[in-house]
């Protein structure tokens, strides 16, 4: 791809930026939106920007959303750019999702399980009717009721499922350093560590469509939600100057254990296998989609035929990142004057050749 160095247009660009700033502010008669308001009241947008920007920081996500005028992909792009300006201090110990302070936890496979079905602040049972009361400001919401806490910790459904040996267990850890997409470019074959990192920061819409495609028969795996949990998890690091683990705060996460029917193969007995989703923030659609696609990409490992798009690891990983995708699609707006000139020349020559051939044919 050849780019032309284009001079000129500086004033037009400056003026465009000034107008952008004015347009972002909107009608000055309407109060300016505060970053704190975005952070407090547009939580799901914050969560999506943190997940796809691959940076857990609610305040920065709110600022990015304000700057991007609510364009969430642009906001995630801003976070990705910002993170490159910061040094990395450490990698955390693997997050202990079992010890999560659970806000919501449901299972679609077991009705009565230890810890129970905890709905949390869900939209699942709302009627999706526009609530015009929200358009009138100053109406205080009802206070969320409270009840006595019976289970201090809610055990992971994994342990319960593994009980009979009918469900695949986790492979266990070799203790090896996982690959890191922020340090090394994507390479194939891509291990599950690379795949999960790419999915965790992948585009929600793309993964939703791919997950949906597996349900509709394009690499079907007959999934059940084994468990979905949302809440806060403590983060532990071991700073070299201290030499022991310290807790540095909490992150909010959504985790999905998808359970899939599996007929078995030559090497593995019939059992249920699992796909895994783990995403920043409260992001159930994304975590479920991630788990579906994670399981689909394990086709080759489990001896299944990989025929559907969601099972094609290269296809999924090369296209799930919306920052890369938007960069390549949107770069088409940049000047391609020389490219296009050369193509124009080629098409003119081809047409002249075709015209000449037609005249020759008519003469014969």
């Amino acid at each position: 791809m050849a780019y032309v160095a284009v001079k000129g247009g500086e004033r037009a660009i400056d003026n465009a930026h000034a107008w952008l700033a004015e347009a972002r502010r909107g009608d000055p008669a309407v109060a300016e939106i505060g970053v704190d308001q975005i952070e407090a009241q547009l939580g799901r947008a914050i969560d999506r920007v943190m997940a796809e920007g691959s940076l857990h920081d609610r305040g920065l996500a709110a600022l990015a959303i304000k700057q991007a005028q609510g364009d969430l992909i642009e906001a995630a792009f801003l976070l990705r750019a910002y993170r490159t300006t910061l040094p990395r201090f450490a990698a955390s110990a693997p997050l202990d999702t079992e010890a999560m302070q659970v806000r919501r936890r449901i299972s679609a496979v077991f009705k009565d399980l230890p810890g129970g079905q905890v709905l949390g602040p869900t939209t699942d049972y709302t009627h999706r009717l526009l609530d015009f009361a929200l358009a009138a400001e100053g109406i205080a919401p009802p206070r969320a009721p409270r009840a006595d806490v019976t289970d201090e910790t809610i055990p992971s459904v994994n342990a319960i499922l593994a009980h009979e040996g009918l469900i695949e267990r986790d492979a266990g850890s070799s203790g090896e350093e996982p690959a890191d997409l922020t340090r090394e470019p994507l390479a194939f074959p891509a291990g599950r560590d690379v795949r999960l990192q790419a999915l965790a920061r992948g585009d929600e819409g793309f993964l939703l469509a791919l997950g949906y495609s597996t349900q509709r028969g394009w690499g079907g795996t007959h999934p059940f939600v084994g468990e979905l949990r949302v809440g806060e998890v403590g983060v532990e690091i071991v700073p070299p100057e201290l030499g022991f683990a310290i807790d540095i705060g909490d992150v909010s996460l959504t985790e999905c254990q998808m359970v899939n029917q599996f007929a078995g193969s030559r090497s593995v007995k019939p059992q249920f296998t699992r796909g895994y989703g783990l995403v920043f923030g409260h992001a159930e659609r994304k975590a479920m989609s991630m788990a579906l696609v994670d399981r689909a990409m394990r086709a080759a490992e489990l001896g299944e035929d990989a025929t559907a798009p969601a099972q094609n690891i290269e296809f999924v990983l090369y296209h799930c990142d919306n920052i890369e995708a938007t960069g390549f699609v949107e770069h088409l707006k940049l000047p391609h004057y020389v490219d296009f000139q050369s193509e124009l020349e080629t098409v003119r020559r081809m047409r002249a050749d075709a015209d000449a051939a037609a005249i020759r044919e008519a003469a014969e």
Binding site: T150, R192, I248
Partner: protein
């Protein structure tokens, strides 16, 4: 340190005036903001993978009593990290430890526990109580 890492600047600013003054100090490092790469485990218990990063601010101070204090706190608040490091240093001084523990750390811990409890109680109120329709047949 876990309690200080979760203490917002406003809370520290509110509790510190009621406690003995923190010793003078010199900053050895920071406050400096950076990143921590968060890791998960495939399937919840398998091989580690890189999930994404979070912002963290760190600070190290030495105070007049000779204590070296460290802080790593989630987010980008340099003042919070510096205060947390000064408290970490002061808590090493036998003269200050017990009063700071009682007047700052214990109170922070109490508030944090209350917030966690409130969250757990709201969750508990949304726990489904299944009931089964029983048929009465004679």
């Amino acid at each position: 340190m876990a309690i200080l890492a979760r203490a917002k600047l406003a809370e520290l600013a509110e509790l510190l005036p009621g406690a003995p003054a923190l010793p003078d100090y010199t900053v050895l490092r920071g406050p400096q903001s950076g990143l921590v790469m968060l890791r998960g485990r495939a399937g919840g218990g398998g091989e580690a993978f890189n999930l994404g990063e979070m912002t963290v601010t760190r600070c190290t101070v030495r105070d007049a009593a000779g204590g070296v204090g460290h802080a790593y706190v989630a987010g980008r608040d340099g003042e919070q990290a510096a205060l947390a490091a000064r408290l970490d240093a002061a808590l090493q001084s036998p003269a200050l430890h017990d009063t700071l523990e009682a007047q700052v750390i214990a109170k922070l811990a109490e508030r944090q526990a209350a917030r966690r409890r409130a969250e757990a109680e709201r969750a508990a109120a949304t726990r489904v109580r299944f009931f089964t329709m029983a048929t009465m047949r004679s």
